[in-house]
Amino acid sequence: MNALAPVPEILWTDVGAVTDIPRQGARRAPTPQGVIAIFRTGDNEVFALYDRCPHKQGPLSQGIVHGRTVACPLHNWIIDLATGEPTGADAGKGCAHTVPVEVRDGRIRLGLVAG
């Protein structure tokens, strides 16, 4: 890596309110790089992952959210929402990749870069 490569500045972009996502559910946010799944857990935590299961690209946004994990709707891999990694028997088999996300005053902001 070129040490002088500019560090991309993260732009925080408002995508909606926490309450726009059902508790223990998810909503989708389309971007040029693919759909981002934004999850809200029963504990009201918010996470964002690329909406692609590391197994066979299942749309994680459609899975059942429980604890801090989601069950992929296609073959039931259990993905950790904080890391995007499969858990249990499927641990270590790839990663759904996280997207920076933060909640302020009940609004959700995704970390995106221009371009």
């Binding site: 995508v15 059902p22 909503r27 946010a29 009201n44 899975g63 604890g67 296609l74 959700i108």
Partner: protein, 819 residues
Amino acid sequence: MTEKLVIIGNGMAGCRLIEEILKRDPARYAITVFGAEPRVNYNRIMLSPVLAGEKTFADIVINDEAWYRDNGITLHAGRPVIAIDTAARTVSAEGGLEVAYDRLILATGSDPVRLPLPGADLKGVVTFRDIDDVDAMLAAAREPDAQAVVIGGGLLGLEAAYGLARRGMKATVVHLMDVLMERQLDEAAGYLLTEALKARGVETVLGAQSEAILGTDGEVSGLQLKDGRVLPCNLLVMAVGIRPNAALARAAELAVGRGVVVDDQMRTCDPAVFAIGECAEHRGIAYGLVAPIWDMCRTLADVLSAGPDAAYQGSMLSTRLKVSGVDVFSAGQFSGGDGCEDLVFRDAGRGVYKRLVLKDGRLAGAVMFGDAADGNWYFDLMRTGAPVDEIRETLIFGQAITEGLRGVDPNAAVAAMADSAEICGCNGVCKGQITAAIVDLHLTNLDSVRAVTKASASCGSCTPLVEQVLALTLGDAFKAETGPRSVCKCTAHGHGLVRRRIVEDELKSIPQVMQALEWKTPDGCPSCRPALNYYLLCAWPGEYRDDKQSRFVNERVHANIQKNGTYSVVPRMWGGLTTPNELRAIADVADEFAIPTVKVTGGQRIDLLGVKKDDLPAVWSRLNAAGMVSGHAYGKALRTVKTCVGTDWCRFGTQDSTGLGVRIEKFMWGAWTPAKVKMGVSGCPRNCAEATCKDVGVICVDSGYEIQIGGAAGLEIRGTEALTKVATEAQAIETIVAVVQLYREEGFYLERIYKWMARVGLETIKARVADDPAERRALYDRFALAQRSARIDPWAQRVAGRDQDEFNPISRRLEFAPA
């Protein structure tokens, strides 16, 4: 010479600081305190019990007039400071008083946030911060038919509502989020809190946005919500948060963020001026509880007496709700971070829920409801970051048990229990009773102990303890039994017990079941939640509100997900019949939405495959317009009723098999079942509808209808077995409906009819459905009742706007790349 110390704010922080200074160096400072409130210092957190009538103002005074006098402290009560001159080192107060300082302390606390709603200035709209607010609330409570609405379901709002309810008011809390105290509690604890408050006369309206405060003649008369509802009231309490009171500091040009910015010595950017309490912002945090204030006061007292070595490092917080009889404690992060692990304990008998979060072998968070006695112990473990791996097994049971048992094997612990120690909390059975029963009655297994003593017969959570008592008493003669398989790893209970308890105990929501049956996880998993959702739906038709987040995606969105994330759509074709009109509509919709595949299914109908999720409502609306409804190809529900042409056309047909199939399907569609249900009706024993490999099959013969059940042709191949034979179509329908209803009520989730039949036995089913007309009729009637709220096309509901969030992305397409 004594130095002049001036404190602005005669509250919790200001006065505690004085006490700390007096402890260290009573002669050093000449102390002057300004208080905006015209009274001595009192314990603000005890305003809640004062409101509730559990304490009086006199009870909560911390420092009375004698204290000020005896310690030589000058108090200017009712004299708010209006300006600070940092250059001249003076403060001036209302009424023209000016006082010089060597060191100045800001302890001005915070102001309650007032929502800028229309009507916010009406009489009867109050906040909850000081004793004057309490007086205003009590005055409103004395009016006839007094009703209060509290906006805000946090600590303050709930304590206000509880206090007002105690004073005889009808009190309702309106909360924006769908869990009370959502910052401190998880869903399970929030649910229990909602119930406990209800029992104390406080109603809650969750997920509600306030729109406007309504009034008549300048006085508040109600709160209008965004959804149009109006909650009438003559008192409206806003308890939606606090804002650090930093106005003076800002005017004096001190650095202010959320609060007055201080360093680790509590010093502002002016070295002679310090800030403590809620008005201060330390390392980016402005606190709203007293524990950090005590830490700040200790540090500042050290700094002001011994010198600048002392440093405040920030505080960890814990919260306790002060509602009598409702023990709620929360501390740390219960919604953790990476690699967190939950320990959950529930005691349904005592209404206890505890959840601990472990992270890297240490305790990171705790939520407790119903029994918060160990709160401080957990909080200490968190604060000190003590490793808990070694005490992990017993941690959730609290300090006494953990410290009592450390290093002791569990059998020895049970052996060491006194005979009077209670083993079964639900039925109040102690160890001695169990041992005596085992010895005297020669009991050898768990079931017999249950039957005789009732120990572990209710919630079952003490089963391991009872088994240990058995093992200890009988030695090798006892072998632990393996009970029915549990629903999943979240619970020790099997499906049968769960189903029974839902009905017997009238459990009506998933959190309620999880609490009553002592689930071991906070919010279940994809195995148990859909099962519970189904059991509740079946037990309380028309009453239970379906939890869509507990359904597998197909049942949530009423279409089948495909390998590429698109969906398939299968409209009903009653009994396999269709019309040119329906076929045209299917062709048109396939064209309009560029649906790539149209296929005839193995169930006598047509599948549209590859529909984009966001197109589903539009596709359905086109099909609805042609009279078609959901085929439930996605559901644990009635799928198809496959028919043959029967007497309509076939030269061998004996009865109207097509018509019967259509009538069954039209009556039974939309009913949720433990697993999918497929049926077939053949017009003669040649069986062209393959009825003998369906869950329920009918073979028509000259003399009537042979009804068969328990066929399968998927993972397993099984021919049906004969249930009964009836003479008329009406009898056939009644029998089929009754057997399906029995299955709905007693089948385990995901257990198809053939498996259910293998478990309970065909004879049992025959006895109840075929041989007992009264029970058959009762089953039929229960099904008919449930169908009233089931036979509604889920597609049409969504076309009309239900669950729109499911079919729309949260945002329009973002024109950026994710970082």
